[in-house]
């Protein structure tokens, strides 16, 4: 299935699995993008190679950054009419708590949606959504 077909199907059926499968890095990381009533939910089931601090078994900051960025990009892609992945201009990641060796979730909210650029706030959490582990502010150009 081509990326375009995967994207068309995702928008039609609310299933992003084929889109995620088409992105080698997201597949290698084991990332999932689920669609629920609130929109796109980024899910990263824990894998041993995500560890960044072996002493306290915490997830690498770069892994959280990648989840936040991917969730922002896929949310923009899914909600726009573009057939290309958005281009990320910049991202600022705040690390709020150490992330444990368990599943991490992420959700994006648009701070401002323009015609060409979207400002996105993305928050990542684990067991308790009220206790985010990381958050990011990013700007994406619609593809």
């Amino acid at each position: 299935m081509s990326f375009l077909e995967a994207l068309a199907r995702a928008r039609r059926e609310g299933d992003l699995s084929e889109v995620v499968a088409a992105v080698p890095y997201m597949r290698a990381m084991g990332m999932e993008m689920r669609v629920d009533e609130e929109g796109v939910l980024g899910v990263l089931p824990f894998a041993e190679h995500h560890i960044g601090n072996y002493a306290i078994r915490a997830i690498h900051g770069g892994v959280l950054g990648a989840l936040l960025e991917s969730t922002a990009a896929i949310t923009v892609l899914y909600t726009s009419e573009s057939v290309h992945l958005p281009r990320i201009v910049n991202i600022t990641v705040e690390y709020l708590r150490s992330a444990k060796a368990e599943t991490t979730f992420a959700r994006s909210r648009f701070t401002k949606q323009g015609r060409r650029v979207v400002s996105v706030r993305t928050v990542a959490w684990q067991g308790d959504a009220a206790k985010p582990v990381a958050a990011a502010q990013s700007h994406l150009l619609i593809g």
Partner: protein, 187 residues
């Protein structure tokens, strides 16, 4: 040999020994970063990070190579690396530069990291990540860095980071960096 020649020869020999000592210290530090940081940290190992340059002692400068591989591609249409991979590699390089700037092994944690993507990485090419920890205060370290394909004048991304320093908590990773015995007794 005149007295003057002898003195000059001794001076040259001393300079050579000093230069050798500096080179040996640098090589040992590079080996420690490779072992305790690039290989012992699972995600750094998965990314395949390699040490390129550890700078002068205490300078807080680090250059790591991120070898290209298909698994790290973020855009299937262009074959370009995923932005998150650049973020992760810059996070690792920036954190490493903080370790190199600290006089003693201490635990650190990323507070925030901003990445500006200046131009797309080229498909199939390795990325060099260079970071400098230019200020260490009592509790916070400040870094800036750049990712490029070999010419820092044509950067792929700029990175600015801040890191918390825990002066009351010696780090096992930092200890490993100091002793070069990374991963000993680790899971």
């Amino acid at each position: 040999m005149s007295e003057r020649d002898e003195a000059a020869a001794a001076k040259t020999a001393a300079a050579k020994t000093a230069a050798e000592k500096v080179a040996a210290e640098k090589a040992a530090r590079a080996a420690r970063i490779d072992q305790a940081f690039n290989r012992a940290v699972p995600y750094n190992a998965w990314l395949g990070l390699e040490t390129v340059d550890v700078g002068e002692k205490g300078a807080g400068r680090l250059v790591l190579r991120l070898p290209f591989r298909e698994e790290l591609v973020g855009n299937p249409e262009t074959g370009v690396l995923h932005g998150g991979v650049i973020t992760a590699a810059m996070d690792a390089t920036s954190g490493g530069s903080v370790f190199l700037a600290l006089a003693e092994p201490l635990r650190i944690a990323t507070l925030d990291l901003r990445i500006d993507y200046l131009r797309p990485a080229e498909a199939g090419r390795d990325v060099l990540c260079s970071a400098h920890c230019y200020r260490v205060s009592r509790q916070v370290a400040f870094t800036r860095g750049v990712a490029h394909h070999g010419d820092p004048g044509e950067p792929i991304a700029h990175a600015v980071g801040t890191f918390m320093i825990f002066r009351d908590a010696p780090s096992r990773m930092a200890d490993a960096l100091k002793s070069g015995r990374a991963g000993e007794g680790e899971p």
